[in-house]
Structure formats: C-alpha cells, structure tokens
Symmetry: C2
Subunit: 135 residues, 2 copies
C-alpha cells in the first residue's frame, strides 16, 4: 500500500542505538533475498555491490534479538541465503506499520496540506534569467 497522496512520503526507520536496524532500503533487500535465494543475487537485483549487501545483512543480523538472514555454505561469495522466522516476522511487522502510516495520509488534514502544493516548483530567478536570455 502506498501513500494516499503521491506527494506525501513517509520514511519509517527503526533504530538500534545509533544504527538503522530497518528502513526502506533494508526491507527491500530482505524482499530481494527471499526472491533470489542469495545475498549476491539480491545485491545484483538492488544494484548494489555484494560487499554492500553483505554489510547491510550483517548489521541487521546484529540489531535484532536473533538474525534475520541465514546463509548456507557454498562456493566463493557464499552459497544460499534465506530469511529466518525472525526475519519474516520483522519484515512483515515493518511493512504493516508502514502501510498503517501510509493509510493515515488519507485523512482530511493530509489532503488539505497536499492541496496547497503546486504540481511543480515555480522556476527560480536564475532559471527565469536563463529563459529570458534564451528569448
């Protein structure tokens, strides 16, 4: 479920100390691991390096009561990876809370705010200056 107003974006972050234990990018990475069955495949799908994907998984695994992703031995760059029961539960709870927040943008106060927006910003003075020099 997405925000009722495309102009209103809600970013949900779950903190463990100073670290971001879950957020939009990490949740998408968990989805990609579930779909691809490996950290390397998930990284490719997300357009990030294997090293970066591994670092995010390692951080998530250290932030929750038990690891969210388990790996099985394999060739170089690791074998398979899948979500643990904890990973599935945390991801589900995160998505449910995000959906509840997005649904909140259907209230009247959000519509009032969105109605005050322009579709796009007026051009800046610098842009207007360029346009007038262009003719």
């Amino acid at each position: 479920m997405k925000s009722e107003h495309p102009a209103i974006k809600i970013k949900l972050q779950i903190l463990c100390g100073e670290a971001i234990a879950m957020g939009p990018g990490k949740a998408d990475l968990l989805d990609a691991i579930a779909a691809e069955g490996s950290i390397s495949g998930a990284g490719r799908r997300m357009g990030m390096s294997y090293r970066r994907a591994w670092q995010l998984v390692d951080l998530m695994n250290r932030c929750w009561q038990s690891p969210l992703v388990e790996t099985s031995p394999g060739s170089a760059r690791g074998g398979g990876a899948r979500l643990t029961a904890e990973g599935t539960a945390v991801l589900g709870d995160y998505r449910a809370l995000q959906a509840a927040l997005d649904a909140r943008t259907g209230h009247a106060d959000a519509a009032t705010l969105a109605a005050r927006l322009r579709a796009r910003p007026l051009r800046s003075q610098a842009e207007r200056g360029e346009a007038s020099r262009e003719g």
Copy 2:
C-alpha cells in the same frame, strides 16, 4: 509530540515534483525564522550558512500556492523575515500530520516490533577480533 517508541523514527516529506517542499529540516527552519525574525538569524540558530538558509526558503516559496516566508528590505544580507499566513498554515498542518503519525507508534504492532530490537547492535566480527587481540 514524539514517537511513542524512541527507536521508531518517522520522517515526513512533502514533495513538489522532485523537490522536497517540506520536511523535518525545512519545518525547523520556519520555526527558527518565526523565532529570530530573519533568515540570517534563523540560519545561525540552525548552524547553516545564510546562503543555504536562503536557498531553502526560496525553494519553499516556489513550491506552495503562495510564499511561506516574506522578507522586508534592510541592510546587507536582507532585513527581517517572517512567516506568511500560508507559511503558518502549512507549518501547522505539517506538524499536526507528523504528530498523528508519531502517535500511531503507540499501537501494539509498533511495540511488538520495538520489543524485538536489541538495545544496541552486537559487535561485528571485526570489532570482536580487535577486542580479542586487545586481550
């Protein structure tokens, strides 16, 4: 009003096309302008340059149906600045929506999610290696 769970952070952004018309930093800048009565004073309070503060005000003023901040002529670096009626209304609506979202974290599902978190991340393998070398 803050999140019911300090570990759960909700960042509300209002988009105008690709531009961020309102977000946590811009809302704080409007508060600072209302308190200081000038863009330069607000910038100092926020720890940002006058140029940066001015750019943020200029962008906000171009994203909404009418400007959020009006300035009065003065000495170098501008004279006074204050929120317009539109600025006061948009800021109030933004703060109200943020508070409604924060209140949502008082629901049981958010508590369930927060309860799964560690207070801080486990140390990484690299950190554990350093600790063991240190004895």
